[in-house]
């Protein structure tokens, strides 16, 4: 026991001193202002990309390649988790909640879906985007699992469909990028590659950014859903049967 306490103290001392060294390395300018590329982004996003959300413009246009990689990380994880729990049938691990909840949920679902799509489609105008919207899409499937029982969603939308959606989202992203390359404007080029931008602030602005948002939304929504269903596969069958029909 004493060894453990000792270990903790040493660990705390190590972390504290590491933090102290990091603290010493801080630079805080007395009068911060925008400089470097950031200043350019703030000034020129509107004319360069037509998006009104600068963060989205950076994510999907200036540094779209990062986003491509980031979406690939999720894709990799989903693929990997599906591989880890492969070759196991989805067992019924829950029977769902009461019919009232089921009915209520039925009414909610369209609204949630609309909300998710609006987050995805308006990612270039408002804070939000493909990742956030995709996550909301995935939430719907999680809700299905909780409320209608674990097998409901899998019986309606087969895992293959999700995989197709996910892969085509990823391919759409790559295709948009390659389109820019084919147009001679560089990978993931936006307005230069011929994507037209409407008036700033409208739904059809931002060139390829909405398209990329949709691609990411497909990828993330289907991916997170697959992730969830892969992981609940191994949950045990509950002992009691279905609740009595009322």
């Amino acid at each position: 026991m004493r060894a453990q306490v000792f270990h903790r103290w040493i660990g705390a001392a190590l972390c504290l001193s590491l933090g102290w060294w990091m603290w010493r390395g801080l630079i805080v300018s007395a009068d911060p202002s925008l400089f470097g590329p950031a200043a350019y982004y703030v000034a020129n996003t509107a004319s360069d990309t037509g998006a009104s959300n600068i963060v989205a413009a950076i994510l999907f246009d200036y540094r779209g390649f990062d986003t491509f990689g980031e979406a690939t990380v999720i894709y990799t994880t989903v693929c990997g988790v599906a591989m880890l729990f492969a070759k196991r049938r989805l067992r019924r691990s829950s029977w769902g909640l009461s019919p009232i909840v089921k009915r209520g949920m039925g009414m909610m679902v369209p609204f949630i879906l609309v909300y998710a799509s609006s987050i995805v489609i308006m990612g270039h105008i408002t804070p939000g985007g493909g990742f956030q919207g995709g996550a909301v899409f995935a939430t719907v499937t999680v809700l299905f699992c909780v409320i209608y029982g674990s097998k409901f969603e899998a019986s309606r939308i087969s895992p293959k469909v999700k995989e197709v959606i996910e892969s085509s989202g990823a391919l759409l992203f790559a295709a948009v990028g390659l389109w820019g390359l084919a147009e001679g404007a560089g990978f993931l080029a936006n307005l230069d590659a011929g994507f037209s931008s409407g008036p700033i602030g409208s739904l059809f602005s931002g060139g390829a950014i909405p398209l990329l948002n949709i691609a990411v939304g497909m990828k993330v929504g289907a991916g997170l859903s697959t992730l969830f269903y892969s992981m609940i596969k191994i949950l045990e069958d509950p002992a009691e049967g279905p609740p009595p029909e009322v």
Partner: protein
Amino acid sequence: MNPVLAVVAPLSVGFLVPLVHIFKKRHTGMSVIISAGICSVVSAVVALSGWDGVAVTMGGWTPELGISLMVDRLSGAFLLLAATGFPISLACSMESFGYSPWRFYVLFFLSWGAVNGIILTGDLFNMFVFFEIFSVAAYLMVSYPPRSWQAVEASFKYLIFGTVGAMFLLLGIAYSFMATGQLNLGILSQMMASVPPVTLSVIGGCLVVGLFVKSGTAPTHFWLPDAHSSAQTSVSALLSGVLVKVSVYALIRLSFLLFFPVMREVFSVILFLGTLSVILGHLMAFQQEDIKRLLAYSTVAQIGTILIGVGCASSFGVSAAVYHCFNHMTAKMGLFLVAGALAEDRASRDISHMSGLWAHRPLFVAAFALFAVSLAGIPPFSGFMSKWLLLLASTKEGHIVPALAIVAGTVVSSAYYLKVLRAFFSPSETPVPHRRPRPVSGRLVALLSVLCVLLAAAPFIPGASSVLFSVGDSAVDGASYRDVVLGK
């Protein structure tokens, strides 16, 4: 050819494989093979066409705004390394797994794309992103097939280590962004001189520690022997042959671009830990009973040897290190392939059970001896050539202890390889239980042996040696890197 294709092609193949599997199940294997060929050719063409320095920026922006991809000789050399190693590993996994585990091939191509991305990218944050794709894919490939608990435990440890390393990397990136507001490596390398020294040391420390963890340098190597020994044969070969080299590439690139002019102490750290890895890796390999674990520890030691070349902070040292990377790739991939095949035949990885294999597969054992001798550094073979260059590099900078460590490593490694070879050659009473034919592995091993012999001859070809040394020059020369990236 546009460098971005070398990244996008493997990634797209990774995205396509599920679709092919779902819609044209019969063609999965064929399409995987063909696309691997295409990716390999694309990478090689990118490496060769960009040999004298090519940079493109994504989306047609200027390098300050967008993400640049950059090929020069150093990245070209590592691209070629990846373009050689990945198809070999793929062929081996095709032989041992067949076409069915399509998810494995998805991961395989994603990691290939990420590796090419790390090698090509000229942006610090982008490098981190690709590091994560590559790491996640690597964790998962280690745990294929997920039935064995060793694989799962090893990849969990790998994951924790890799993520902690990534966090250090990310913190270093955050610090450098805080200090400069830039992420493009070319511009960063210019601005590093204006960063206050204390901040510079934090940036250097975080980046270097992160990359040490990712590359498995002692004493942060603990994940490496577990992961490399628990994985399947082809994955072990890939990990040892290519994937750890990518972290070494990142280390070379970042340390020379960012810290070479302003903070030479980083190289002392690299040198010190490299020496430590050499000693620790060889000593641990010496004690192993499990043949794949032995090879894994030997990888730790060889990474240390490469880092000694990097830590010399000279063009010559980097050239020697790159040369050793190639030698280590051919030899270690071959060793893993042979060891995996023989261990499967024996149904045991214990060295003491490995008797009678000389009669069983003489060519495999002979190739093993060739690779082992080459890697141990016995004179006319490739390992000796690169070790000699490394010795020269380290003594030219006045570091004698690393040189002695390399030499002592040669003695110890010849001891443990002899142990294995003795087991192979000793006669056995019990016949070898499995006699599965391995045409593909046999050809791969033959190919690797030929490569190994050719690499040994490389320094004597006048053109080849000047190419080798120009690789080191391009690594050290930050000014020309800036010129290429910034389009001057």
